[in-house]
Amino acid sequence: MNDRQEQHLNLLSQMDEQIVEEVTVERYARVRGLARRKKIRWISILASAACLFLLFSFGLNIFQFLGFFKQVPVYEGMTVSNEFSGAEQADLRMTTVMPMLEFAAGGGQNAEPPKLPHGSKPLEEVVKSTLQVEGSGEPLYYAEPNQDIYITVHIDNPDKFEILSFTLNGEKYSSYMFEEGSDMENLVLKINVGDAQPCEILTYTIDAIKYIDGTEIKDVRMKGDDTVQIGITPDVTVTEETGVQSLSLTVTPTEPHAPSSKDLIEISTVLYDGETLIEKKTIVLADSAVTVTFEGLDEKTVYQYGIVALYRATVRVLAEKTVMTLPFVEFTDVSRDHYSCKFRLQWYGENTGTSLALYQEDTFVQELSVDDTVVDALKVGIPYRLVLTYTDGDTVKTVELEIPIYGYSPVKNGEISKKYSPKLQLFNQTTMDYRVHLGCDITATDDPNVYAVAGRIVEIMTDGSLGKLVAIETSNGDTFYYKSLGSIADGLSVGQSVSFGQVIGTVGSSLAVESADPPHLHLEIKDANGQYVDPAIYMDDSY
């Protein structure tokens, strides 16, 4: 606001208050009256519009009832399927060729089908983009020679005029020739593609669809595509043979004649690694089989091969499969017991092993011979791995075997009630003080038996303060002390060998310094150097 406006505003704001009050009251009343009138006007407008609408709808229905404003049927297109049961159809576009082909398994394949890396594209898409195959006129449907197909003609026919006939490839088909289950909006016709050449493309064109309106025969209006194309697929069988760095494919046509079609450019075998199409080899399908070999592949790697027919404007994958090349060498026939592990080295390449070593996690344990098939002196509950070193040409490679852990369960379904604690002092319920705990207390739940580790009994004791005890020395020098036993099994003696899992007693509270604890096994383990170790690392995953 400029100064003049400000001054005038100031003056006019000081109008006579009584007059302003009178005008304010009058103004308020008129404003409310105006609002009321506006509301009434809107209600009238809406009511009028509603009446008009009802009138119009009623009139429209009358006209339609009397036969005015009927909609001419409109042809919208055709679809093709390989079966028709009236309600559902199997769309030929969704049918893959895979179930039609036979595969002979090659050698060295895993039981589980191998998979390409996550995110890999479909082979057909990769072939199209790599070979830059694109264009219109792509056949959307495929069939085999002499196969029956069902062509459905779709018509938008809300007034349900009777469709009299249509012409397909110049041949007239009347309504009595339609399949049972057809209606006036979906006309289904069964035809046979005939003895078409493999890879040939058949074209079906529809026109002159007639319908009856009263006593007149009229033409359906044509709107959708009047043509469908059907590609005839050749029937082939494929066998593959995988090597360490190679893949051989033998492709045999089922039909004893070479496929030919003016639209076909070539038939090829392609190889895909999940990222790129790494190789394409053209083949000529004749009367006999043709073999193609891809070489220079990586060992133990998943690849997908395909037999593809390349047309002028499209690609058809006739067969595809994912395989894995063989490893150079692998560990097989692996079995483990509590102190040893048996295995076998299967060489798919040349035997070029230079060393075989045993590791306990990252710690080297011992060197073996590459010809060995067993490793001994393993401890229960410890993870081991075997590492084989070999050469592949100029490259030094390794392959590893994770040796299954063999766990030990001194009390079945037992629970650790107090852990091994060589440094941190734990509260002792019996002595009511804090002291280190050099063993592991295990309580029983449903089975009070104590099960031994395999070895030789070196001590049996029943003592007032140490309670009932059995000590077993294992073949690798560890000594297991079973303390706080409630009872010792009959017939045990020092020097006796016990087997893995043999019952040597029951849990109890015979250890004086733990007598206030519930019945349990107090298990201590000393290694070959006389050092206490945590018994839990020997135990299985149930603890």
């Binding site: 003049r4 109008m15 404003v31």
Partner: protein
Amino acid sequence: MKKQDNQKEALTVSDTAIIELYWQRNEQAIQATDRKYGVYLYRIACNILRDRLDCEECVNDTYLTTWNKIPPERPGALQLFLTKIARDLSIDRYRKNKAARRVPSELIVSLDEMEHSIPYDDAASEEALRHLVELINRYLQEMSKEDAFLFVCRYYYADSVEYIAQLQKVSKPTVYRSLARLREGLRAFLEQEGIRI
């Protein structure tokens, strides 16, 4: 039905009852004020401010100011009381809001109409301005009720010509002519009283 009930309730809730609620510090006072005068006050703000949000904030500020003023005040005419607060707050906001000033409001348009009817003197004394106010009010008191309604709606409330035409149930040209007549009459009156325009 609830809206109708509320409207009926609003009509029957007198200004006295609303003022009493303010005195009792009952928050229902603000709700009652909003139901009865909310739209009315919004219109007053819109004549001065164009922005919808500014107008809504102004109305809310009016309620807050009223809440703070009553008590200790006990206005005899609640409607006029609210009107003045809303008008003053709207004008203040208009002065401060640069964005609002870019679009001339109806208030400015109405003030510009008075350019040739009321004198402007940037050096005028307080006494001279008071005298001018007296003269304008004398002119106002001599008007007919309908003319006074027209004059106050346009130059106090800054109602648009179109809106005044709806309130008076006349055409816009009629309102334009009447306003021109009143402005000319004011000019003549002031000149007659020795004021130079």
